[in-house]
Each structure stands twice: as structure tokens, then as C-alpha cells.
Symmetry: C2
Subunit: 190 residues, 2 copies
Amino acid sequence: MNITIIGTGSMGQALSSLVAKGGHDVQLLGSADQGTEATGDVVVLAVPYPALREIVEQRGASLAGRIVVDITNPVDFATFDSLVVPADSSAAAELAAALPESHVLKAFNTTFGSTLTSGAVGDVPTTVLIAGDDSTAKATLADVVTAGGLQAVDAGSLSRARELESIAFLQMTLAAAEKISWSGGLALVS
Amino acid sequence: MNITIIGTGSMGQALSSLVAKGGHDVQLLGSADQGTEATGDVVVLAVPYPALREIVEQRGASLAGRIVVDITNPVDFATFDSLVVPADSSAAAELAAALPESHVLKAFNTTFGSTLTSGAVGDVPTTVLIAGDDSTAKATLADVVTAGGLQAVDAGSLSRARELESIAFLQMTLAAAEKISWSGGLALVS
């Protein structure tokens, strides 16, 4: 499979390694590649939340029919006390509304970059929680995750993205307050 | 210290054991004890969310000046698809508004009962996340938790109860869907 990753920051790089490890082809697109078409069957938007709007404007039409993965955490970094999306919504719900022809999934937002790379949160294997309304799309992404050596768990419908974004937000506040490290976090124990 | 636990279900029993293990006195009150005054310095409401309203009506005035711990998860059990509190609120925020003279904390809602008793989520020591606006109250409860052999982490202001309730809700949906067991969950790794 061909996976496009838009974003070359630490998460984009960690995701590129994960995908490549599973034997898939990676197309990594950075900010200088705005004119390059995303060719992946799966397109991962490994960008900060505020960048989603521009990607939708530039690439929205071309993403129709494809699996689009939102990894963002819409944290209000000015206050670090709330998210910037409405309380009854999520970044993923907003993205799905903006890309009605795409299969939007929420994933990778609850795993710090280092835990994607190391494959573990402390001694617990890293689990990627995946939320979305299309079961086939979720299974496709889960296969990519497990091929790369991590665990994947279906976290339910796309409405569960709200909880996934809450988990990540709390995890980030705990790391910022030095209650945990950026290689720790909330690990899923089965 | 004297700790009152209202509620004799599995969580009330697990919390009684935890508190007693730390050498504190436990007053355990069940539904037949509505006429008995809660005497604890800390009063833990180990009841389902819908029971909070009645406790506030019956005991609200007597809880003034005391530490009151909300452990509830206000899940809509009819749909298992949302919480019954407004999206921008939490059970703990509602309780704090109803008990303005008490020091309301959110705690124990992210730990399944079995992990309170066993002291571990899988191989990870059980951590009790505590949110609240009164630092002294949080430190008092943290001491009770650590005396009982568990870890305690200050999760921030009472507004973080929203995230703690989201974490617990997702955890419950995963257990109900048999993606994890009721002795697993999201374990905090430092």
C-alpha cells in the first residue's frame, strides 16, 4: 500500500518510520510540497491542528474517497486549560464535516512521538487507538499499525474522537507539569 | 483521620479497604444509614451519578467545610454513547456548584474497582488521578491514597474532571466491547 504522510515534524517522521517498517511505501510531504499530489490510499495529516484548514482548502477535493487520518490535538496553547474546538465536538468531527467524501479516522493523537518510535510506554506495548465511522477504513489503518509492530485498538465511532482528544490533552498537561515524562503517558493495558 | 465512605457497592468496599490499609478510620454508610451523620474529615461519595442529587439534598449543609470526593462516571447507560452531563461540564463541576461550601475533588473515577484492590493495572502500579481547585484538599486525599499503597497524581484544577470523566468513559466502552478486561484500562506510566 502507498501511505501519504503530510507533515515532516517529529510525528510525521515517527509515522513514516512506522509505516515503512510495515513494508508499505511512504510519500512524505512537507510544507514545500504543496503542489505535489498526495497519492496514498491512506493520507495521514501529521500537522498541528491549525494547519488542517489550509490542507482542506488546498487538497480537499483530491482526498475524496480516501482514508484521511487526523492526529491533531486542538489544545489552546495560550491557556493550556482547554481545547479550542467546541466542547461537544472534536478536531476529527470538524475535519469529517469539511471532507464529507473522505473516510476520516482519528488516530495517533494519544501516543507521544517517542512511544510510536520505541514501541512502548514504559514497559507496556504502545497501543494506537483508532476512532472512525468506517469499519473497513479502521481495519486498514489497524493493519498498517500492527505491520509496523504496534498494537491497534478500535476505539469506536468517530464521536469517540472527543474522548481521545480529552485523553491526549490530559496527558499533555501532566507531561508539561512534569508529573510524567514525554515518553510516558496513559498506556492501554488489556 | 476519619474518612466517611457513602456507598457500599464494589467501589465503596474497595475504597474502604484502601483507606483502612492506610491506617485511617472508616465510616461506611449504606442506603439504610440516611439518618446517620457523616463524621469524616473526608467524605467519599461512592455512589452512582444519579444518586448525587439525593445526597446533596439530604447532606449538603452538613458537608460544608469538608473535603467531598466525587468518583462518579455520568455515563448514559441507555445509549452507552455519551455522558449525561453537558459537554462543557462534568459531574464534579455540578457537585461543586451544588456544594459551594465544600472542597470538592474528583478522584477514583478512572480506576476500575479491581485495580484499586489489586494495586496494579496489568504490571503498572495503579495511579489515582485527583482533580480539584483546593491544593490542600488534594494533598490530603493523595496522602490517604499513598498510605493505602497506591500512587496519586495531581491532575490539575477541578475543570480537568471533564477529561477524567472522558478517560473513564472511553475505558468503560473498551471494556464493555471486550477490547480490554475490567482489570485493565488506561494506566498512567510516568
